[in-house]
Symmetry: C2
Subunit: 180 residues, 2 copies
Amino acid sequence: EGELEEIVKVAVKVPVVRLKMGEVAEATTVVVLPVSIAAEGESGVGKVPMECKSEGGFGIVVADKGWDRWVVLPRWVPLLGIGSGVAVSFSNAKVLPWRVNRTYVNEPVLVVIDRKRKQVEFDDGFYLVAGSGGDDGGLKVEKGSILKETGVAETIGTVVIVVRPPNYEVDDQLSDEDWD
Amino acid sequence: EGELEEIVKVAVKVPVVRLKMGEVAEATTVVVLPVSIAAEGESGVGKVPMECKSEGGFGIVVADKGWDRWVVLPRWVPLLGIGSGVAVSFSNAKVLPWRVNRTYVNEPVLVVIDRKRKQVEFDDGFYLVAGSGGDDGGLKVEKGSILKETGVAETIGTVVIVVRPPNYEVDDQLSDEDWD
């Protein structure tokens, strides 16, 4: 099952990463993103600051407006060139259109999008779109090819990475030494 | 001179730390603090969110109000029990009442205060107070004993740590191997 998940991941061309405990530590720099709760739908995403700049020696994050919900993530490669990033917080992984296993589907996920890339560019890219009904404000992650078929050209933004929470229950978070 | 600085640091009982490049990486967790620009004075500090909680598996920071300026710091020990933290951003270190060397004094500093601890508790503690005139909105860091002598009982907050920016010019940021 784990192997199948790997294959699916490669096919979808969107990295799905599980945040490890203490992993914010791993990169030499971090990225601070405004968070939107999926339940607040498309308009919720629209209220988030458009631009966040890093300022001065302390890397102070300066947003173009005040915001009350933020997340710190390791500066993973897909986050490097992000134009206007938002981490959309979903209560579960049902929003993802690819096959996920049962544990995974019940975990919360952060879907990080770039709002500067609203156009459906790639068939195998993934995009956040406004649907109707369902949990999580009707927001959906949809594949580029499907959107093109249904004539959707503009989306809320391109999905750049999907983040799963740290797993506190399995021991793969710890090195062997911790158990000796 | 470096040694003298060390002695002064011990005497003042406020840790002064220089952020190392990539040091946000060093601790297993980080702390996200709202930033106030010193030039905006006491009222500027007063506008910053009072409470920031960490929520859920992703450690999303939820503030009691929107704010546009944030900094990520390693979760250093003095930041652990902080009640209502603000990083006050000073353009130079003249605000510090102890002797600092010439390079240091011209560098920006972040003075992190706890606004839940406004009372002057300790003679050898340091507190952020509103003065008048000068750069940086008239804000000053003052020693507890001095404040007691002049009858000041309440301050903007207790100073918990002073942060200096990473030094990009000196090689002490790099290990010896990097120069071999």
